[in-house]
């Protein structure tokens, strides 16, 4: 039996109206622009209970809502870009450059804050890490792919 989640979610705003001014302010203050690319392609079969939730459509909606908050953020959709194997995905590109920041899945609920944080961080001229951390990372002599499994609740 199909649930009615889609009907209900269609009318839910991505951001609360009372929090939008602060979010706009943060994004407008970014020193470099950030591009968000929504990568779409074949999705994995969802777990029982996911119902009729359209992960790709919801991801597009969230990313476009985020980009609509500020001229410092742009978004576009790309079908199965090279190097992306899980869909939907969001690629976060500081100043339009792909430096390997990805969100695989739909960044809703608690994880919307992760995507927003990634955008703010990408909009900074330098990462907000300690000088010691930056030194250690600058000295890195091998490739590291860090995956962080998350849930929206």
């Amino acid at each position: 039996m199909a649930s009615h989640n889609v009907d209900r979610l269609a009318f839910m705003p991505v951001f609360r109206p009372d929090e939008e001014p602060r979010l706009r302010e943060l994004l407008d203050a970014m020193e470099r622009p950030v591009e968000l690319v929504v990568a779409l392609g074949p999705e994995e079969t969802p777990l029982p209970g996911a119902g009729d939730f359209d992960f790709s459509a919801e991801t597009v909606k969230i990313v476009e809502a985020l980009a609509s908050l500020s001229g410092r953020v742009t978004s576009r959709i790309k079908q199965q870009p090279d190097g992306v194997t899980l869909f939907p995905a969001v690629l976060v590109l500081p100043a339009g450059k792909d430096v390997g920041l990805r969100y695989y899945g739909t960044p809703y609920g608690y994880e919307l804050a992760s995507l927003f944080g990634a955008v703010l961080e990408a909009g900074r001229p330098a990462p907000s890490l300690t000088a010691e951390s930056l030194e250690r990372l600058a000295a890195l002599d091998r490739e590291l792919a860090i995956d962080v499994f998350v849930t929206p609740t």
């Binding site: 920041l101 944080g117 990372l137 590291l144």
Partner: protein
């Protein structure tokens, strides 16, 4: 999650991905994800839970990933 993104922004040798475990259950199973956040480095499961910046770097920069 943000620490991983910051690390990727700080070094061209680092990439960082958040993966929604519920949307990719097969991958989450393969990586033995039982709790979140669950961190894997170079495809190998490492630890669960948020840690401070210094500890995070100690772990991801550990020589075992050389």
């Amino acid at each position: 999650m943000l620490l991983a993104y910051k690390a990727a922004l700080a070094s061209p040798r680092v990439t960082a991905a958040a993966i929604e475990a519920g949307e990719f259950p097969r991958l989450a199973d393969e990586m033995n994800v039982w709790a979140v956040p669950s961190i894997a480095v170079n495809g190998v499961p490492q630890w669960d839970g948020a840690v401070p910046e210094r500890v995070f770097l100690d772990r991801v920069l550990a020589p075992s990933f050389a």
